[in-house]
């Protein structure tokens, strides 16, 4: 029993990272029904950006967030206002095609600029620090990742439920035409949603890069894990996304106990099973 407890806890911590990958996808799908195929590649772009900041300033990766988060948020706003806004409509195909194109551009741009050499953000002492807990060692960095994931989910839930911006997000999502007729600049609201999404992308990039190596082609797998977390949790629900991320993390961690090759496959199988039983995910927002 104790031998299973350890991978479950490690899986929950891994799920924290997947939740951070997923939360931005959940956000923009909830507000504008947009699926961003390049989500994972922007996470990797943020990691490279953080690496540049570290090289230039010598800051700790966590301190570099102060620079990387606003830069990525700005990029998100500009991309939404000038590119993605043209793809939003009744047809779901254009956003998929355009963001797929962005994924190719980002991957090959990073390849040209940084080569295929794998990089990592050195995080210093917290990389290896751990806390003993009833015979189980929990890494400080994974614990911090999970804490950030929960804070992000709670923060977004608060913004959506309680603030003026959140009301604008929900109203614009419900009926963009009526929201416009009531004085909302819809493209601006969508731009803010994408900026918020890209802020989470920046956090995802930094935490990914402190934890593992990354190269220009690390993005698609992050998209996949994030996407699975969103779908398991149910579209439109932030707490569902957290649940989805944790379930996916635990599934992978338990799979790795069988054999290292089974890790990723186990996650996909659990994703498939949950979809088969509950096609709308565990906690779909709209009945």
């Amino acid at each position: 029993m104790a031998s299973l407890l350890d991978p479950i806890f490690q899986g929950l911590l891994l799920g924290g990272l997947y939740t951070i990958f997923a939360v931005g996808l959940s956000l923009i799908f909830g507000v504008m029904r947009l699926v961003n195929i390049a989500h994972g590649d922007f996470i990797v772009l943020a990691a490279y950006l953080a690496h540049m900041v570290l090289t230039l300033t010598g800051l700790h990766p966590l301190a570099a967030l102060v620079i990387v988060v606003p830069l990525m948020a700005g990029l998100g706003y500009v991309l939404q206002r000038h590119v993605l806004t043209r793809t939003i409509g009744d047809d779901i195909l254009p956003p998929l095609l355009v963001t797929f194109g962005m994924a190719v551009i980002v991957q090959n741009g990073l390849l040209t600029a940084f080569s295929t050499n794998a990089l990592r953000l050195p995080a210093g002492a917290i990389e290896t620090a751990s806390i003993g807990f009833g015979g189980i060692n929990l890494g400080v960095l994974p614990l911090l990742t999970l804490a950030v994931a929960v804070a992000l989910i709670a923060g977004l839930e608060f913004i959506f439920a309680r603030t003026r911006l959140g009301r604008a997000f929900r109203a614009t999502s419900d009926d963009p035409q009526m929201a416009t007729a009531m004085g909302v600049r819809t493209p601006h609201v969508f731009g803010l949603a994408m900026a918020l999404c890209f802020a989470t992308v920046a956090i995802a990039g930094v935490f990914l890069a402190m934890r593992s190596n990354f190269d220009p082609f690390s993005g698609p797998a992050r998209l996949l894990f994030g996407f699975e977390a969103v779908i398991i949790g149910g579209l439109g629900s932030f707490w569902g996304t957290l649940a989805g991320g944790l379930i996916l993390g635990v599934a992978q961690s338990l799979g790795a106990q069988i054999s290292p090759q089974v890790q990723v496959l186990a996650g996909h199988i659990v994703f498939f099973l949950i979809l088969a039983v509950r096609p709308r995910g565990l906690f779909p927002k709209t009945a």
């Binding site: 009301r167 109203a171 419900d174 035409q177 009526m178 416009t180 007729a181 009531m182 004085g183 909302v184």
Partner: protein, 234 residues
């Protein structure tokens, strides 16, 4: 000449290749109510959507407070003081009653109407303020839709099918609010299926048929026969 709030000049509009409105013109003086009647498909909703900028029209076709607004986007029209109570109410489904109202107040203008005044006008909404907007009865939803328009403190409200699908007693409740609304300095264009009610509530009556204006007369002097003839054609 009194102060003209809304001026529609040879307005034509439609959906893609389908033209639904042909050369409709009228002026609405400030402080007045214009009744708009006509059969289904006569172009009433199209007229509203074209005025609000939700359908194509040309610069000079619509003027609001003396300025041409035919090229002005909808969100700016809202800030200029134009509000719509749409057919079918179109409340925001994921917002509560009060959130629907607060959303309107946050993106509209400041003025006479605030949340507490509105709850004074429709006390039932205060009671139900934390419920999902779509869980209310049709009449109460209509009150929320009207409340949303009021909280933007507009100069002009376009009421589309204000009593459609409501029980007669509820319609009376909704209409009981109209004098307070007009009394607060808001003008209105009122689309109403009940011709007698449209006539009593307005100063001027317009009848549309097949996208064209077929009657335009002072409400008090127009005869039932004239309206019937205009409504159904020859």
């Amino acid at each position: 000449m009194s102060d003209i709030l809304l001026s529609v000049d040879r307005l034509s509009s439609g959906y893609g290749d389908f033209q639904a409105l042909f050369d409709v013109s009228f002026d609405l003086p400030r402080g007045q109510v214009l009744g708009l009647v006509g059969a289904n498909g006569a172009g009433k909703t199209t007229l509203f959507r074209a005025i609000m900028g939700l359908l194509p029209r040309q610069e000079k076709m619509v003027a609001f407070k003396g300025a041409p607004i035919g090229n002005t986007p909808s969100d700016q029209l809202a800030k200029m003081g134009l509000a719509l109570v749409p057919e079918g109410r179109r409340l925001f489904r994921s917002l509560s009653v009060e959130e629907n109202l607060r959303f309107a107040a946050e993106h509209g203008r400041k003025g006479h109407w605030d949340l507490s005044r509105l709850y004074g006008l429709f006390p039932i909404l205060k009671e139900k303020r934390n419920l999902p907007a779509l869980s209310l009865s049709g009449g109460q939803q209509q009150m929320v839709a009207i409340g949303r328009a009021l909280l933007a403190n507009p100069d002009l409200i376009l009421f589309d099918e204000i009593s459609l699908g409501l029980a007669p007693v509820v319609i009376n409740d909704v209409y009981a609010a109209l004098p307070d609304i007009i009394g607060s300095g808001i003008s209105a264009v009122l689309v109403e299926q009940d011709i007698e009610r449209a006539r009593k509530s307005s100063q001027t009556l317009i009848c549309l048929r097949e996208g064209r204006k077929v009657l335009h007369a002072p409400s008090h002097s127009v005869s039932k026969h004239d309206i019937t003839a205009a409504y159904f054609g020859e």
